[in-house]
Subunit: 368 residues, 2 copies
């Protein structure tokens, strides 16, 4: 790299790795066409037809910038959660909002705590600001809330990141455990609670939205159960003093107008969301049945994906995953032992799960 | 603000100001409905019908994440400019890419040079990283390239920001002047050349795209002449060592899939772009004629907007602007003397320029 380029020391020392290589890049790199897209925890059932209709109607108006305040969507989300619009910030997916949060809280010398093998994109944002990460191992495939709190307290951490329900395992803590964690947050530590899959989960997983505590930020998205991953719409709920600070750092005109409109309609169509959740539930059962036919356990999940325990080490699961990819079945797997004994399969359309079932049987025969 | 929130010192000291209050917020705040939207330099003529058709077709697939590598669009842009895809990075508008650039080059103690009264969003991104801005006055309503270079050299600046054609004045330097500036760049200084309006400009304003010089970044957008402001698609052209570093800091899944698809079709339809440019040219003439009828000069522009010299001080132009807003005519004006003697009017549809013409006459009668 030329010395004439004034990269900061932090950026010049960052590795050239990206959090997730997308399925399209995998297809380009291997020449394999993915017949089943079961690796990104999207909703193959799509968004509400009302959202699609509204986005179609918005097409000719796409020459207009979206409202940088995201007013209409923000008001609707606030009403949905019985909070004020000042407790809601919209961003380019949870990823975009996590980047803003890192900008707000992280600089060299700042400690951040997360689970080992949890969300790589969160870690990416922290490292890109020069933060130091403490990585706490899972306990029985669950995030170790006590361990996270203990470490945050000891290290004066600025942020604890927890996903509930958890990705990549699909496990969860109930609302009571999260509330206890919040009660025990060290002073000066913010809990970044990533609830990307919360719409899939039953009552009792999410605590109430209490926005009087400035140490709690709740991240939500339209990318999962709402079926709008392609439109990049996430939001964060929190105390207005923290929410308003996002305005100091965010890309104010970063939201696309069509996504604003689609998300608003998706939010309104809660009946459709319930239908989708029934399909996720049926899909999880199907994946469990497929695994069970081969004598494999699955990790109980309340998301739109299921981790299948392949019963051996990560080399074995990696081999299975590679063979499935080679057969055109796109899935992913946890990155760290012992969770990497599993492969992670998103709920798909029936014909995609048929393809997975068939390919999985072939692969297990090959590796046995 | 509670002491329990671990804001960095930089962020805690940032003011609660936003670069641009959008027209929707102005309407909400005042209760006035804007009948003419002539303030955001959008393209009221809209994107190519082929782009709209492709985005409509993409609606049902909006449950899929877009390709985080933006491969298809990146390849098409590279071919359009006869460079390699490794010289192209896509982002959430030029604003998003400027934010990434600030992340790459700016930290406390870093100096950055721009023109006084130039792009507030650029300044916003620099300040949010703790950078120090030197602001160089315009000379005869043009950015002072020599002054920018001289200051950058003296202050060891990491970045010089120049927009060519310039916003908010519509003025430009020819390619020769830009090339001379590039030849004189101090070692360790990157030129951020914002060419948001370059598709509107005639031959001879943009130098060739030379990507062998890592000190030059060229920012382009689909928001202006291509008519896709609402979809948030910008790109930057440069040396591959610098372009690849955007991957270290950007929101990899930040681009919406529909926008990727729409921009690709818009790029392909260069015939439509030429039609739009004819309309911009006619619109500029119309605005010049309206101003001239009141004895006012306009600043010669090669963009989709025209600055009208109201002939007095900024208080006078501000009064005119406020009265136009009150009549439902959304326009903006430069923020700093002496450019703030002007108001800035975007090319609009015929009926919008009719409304402007009528309201402008009324306002000038009121203030005379």
């Amino acid at each position: 790299m030329s010395k004439s380029i004034p990269f900061t020391k932090i950026v010049s020392e960052l590795p050239h790795t990206v959090p997730f290589v997308g399925p399209e890049a995998q297809e380009r790199n291997t020449g394999i066409h993915f017949r089943a897209r079961l690796g990104a925890n999207e909703s193959c059932f799509g968004p509400s037809p009302k959202a699609i209709a509204a986005m179609t109607a918005a097409g000719p108006e796409s020459w207009r910038y979206g409202d940088p305040e995201n007013h209409d969507l923000r008001v609707a989300i606030a009403a949905h959660h019985s909070v004020s619009p000042s407790n809601v910030m919209i961003g380019e997916g949870i990823d975009g909002l996590l980047g803003c949060m890192a900008h707000m809280f992280v600089e060299p010398g700042v400690n951040v705590v997360t689970s080992l093998g949890s969300y790589p994109t969160f870690n990416f944002h922290i490292k890109s600001r020069g933060g130091d990460l403490d990585l706490i191992p899972y306990v029985s495939d669950h995030e170790d809330l006590g361990g996270l709190i203990e470490t945050a307290s000891r290290k004066n951490a600025a942020i604890i990141y927890v996903s509930n329900p958890n990705n990549p395992m699909g496990t969860w803590h109930d609302a009571g455990a999260i509330k206890e964690m919040i009660a025990n947050l060290p002073s000066g530590t913010v809990l970044a609670l990533d609830e990307a899959y919360i719409e899939c989960a039953p009552e009792g997983v999410a605590p109430e939205i209490y926005i009087s505590n400035p140490q709690v930020l709740r991240f939500r998205t339209f990318s999962k159960a709402y079926g709008l991953a392609g439109m990049r719409v996430g939001y964060v709920l929190g105390h207005e003093d923290v929410i308003s600070a996002f305005d100091k750092v965010r890309n104010h005109y970063g939201m696309n107008r069509t996504g604003q409109i689609g998300a608003l309609e998706a939010l309104k169509d809660q009946a459709y969301l319930m239908e989708v959740n029934s399909k996720f539930s049926a899909g999880r059962s199907r994946i469990e049945t497929i695994a069970s036919a081969h004598g494999m356990e699955t990790i109980k999940s309340v998301t739109n994906f299921v981790a299948i325990d392949c019963g051996r080490d990560s080399a074995f699961s990696k081999d299975i995953l590679a063979r499935l990819l080679a057969k055109g079945i796109f899935i992913r797997m946890p990155g760290v032992e012992p969770q990497s004994r599993c492969i992670r399969v998103s709920v798909g359309l029936d014909h995609e799960l048929d393809l997975f079932e068939e390919a999985f049987a072939e692969v297990l025969k090959e590796v046995s």
